[in-house]
Amino acid sequence: MSAGAARSRQQGGVNERLLQAVAEQMKLPLLQIARRAELAHLSGDHSLIEGIELTADSALRLLDNYLLSTKLARVDGSLQLEPVSIAAVMNDTAHQLSRLADQYECELELHLSGRYAPVMAHRAGLEAALASLGYVFIEAQSTRPRKRRPTIKLAAHRSKNGIVAGMFADIEGLSMDMYRRGRGLYGHAKQPLTQLVSTSGAGVFVADSLLQSMATRLRLAHHQKLSGLAATFTPSNQLSLVR
């Protein structure tokens, strides 16, 4: 078998596992929609409809993000990256996730420490990756027992290797070992990130797939006193004209 054919076969296996994880994940919003619609009929409470619409929108976005990840993974050779304003992407992502966070009774905070030069990325891919990751963190935080609304941070900071951007929260048990094990299990196990979420956590693997197309990967990272999953981006060498 040629190297190209072997690579293509390996990519096919990864796509199949990702599809399994996404299909498993999609059961949750569909179930939420079905049962809440049933409850709306039972109780006559039509205010539930607004929540149903939001759930459907979020599920559609996750599907779109998955489709984008497969499209970017199919690009022959390396993906054409461009200078992207990370602050602008993170602002858009926070806006996209804010209603979902509210529905799941979490606080979503955007935290950018300072101003950043543009990074080399694929704009739509970066936004899809951060949003996919955000869904999982919102779900993870809502599952945990709490006394008050938990906070999730969509944050960026500088490191010696570049600009680190990702999702951070106060989640016990989030470790590189857990994430590595999850990466080995997704698509085969129903709940590969046991310590994080009760579902397939597909958003994490969709995000990782999107980031891999941009020549970076999700890793365990820390921001202030919080743990999270984030990727490191190389600053663009061009002048910082994009903000």
Binding site: K27, L28, L30, L31, Q32, R35, R36, E38, L39, L42, S43, G51, T55, Q103, Y104, E105, E139, A140, S142, T143, R144, P145, G173, K190, Q191, T194, Q195, L196, V197, S198, T199
Partner: protein
């Protein structure tokens, strides 16, 4: 009216199941994790438990083993309402009996009315 403990990790589903059971006239305590469910049982013993097996951190089977290890809670009936398909159950049917699991529902195919009917049936048998 019965005192039902619902162990459901998802906030939207938890609220939905709780509302449906309350409409059916039951009193519901809803917990999202195995640990908080055990603490809750300790404070107020339920008449029946509805349990998801797929929980974050400790799973539903771990909860069942711990729960059944206390003498006071040997006979409280448990209805499993789970994303895990019945064919994929990680425990043998005989062990389900030992753990006093009285009904098993596959969540995606179980409507709210099915849950309410199942709860009523189990409570009628328990009397």
């Amino acid at each position: 009216m019965a005192n039902v403990l619902l162990v459901e990790p998802d906030i939207l589903l938890g609220k939905t199941y709780m509302a449906a059971l309350e409409i059916a006239g039951h009193q519901v305590q809803w917990r999202r994790t195995a640990q908080t469910a055990i603490r809750s049982v300790d404070a107020k013993s339920p008449d029946l438990i509805i349990l998801e097996l797929q929980l974050a951190m400790h799973n539903g089977i771990e909860f069942l083993y711990e729960f059944r290890s206390y003498n006071d809670w040997q006979t409280v009936p448990v209805i499993v309402l789970s994303h895990v398909q019945p064919a994929l159950r990680a425990v043998s049917p005989m062990l389900w009996e030992q753990l006093h699991v009285v009904a098993y529902h596959y969540k995606p195919l179980t409507k709210l009315n099915d849950i309410i009917r199942s709860v009523d049936r189990v409570l009628a048998l328990a009397i």
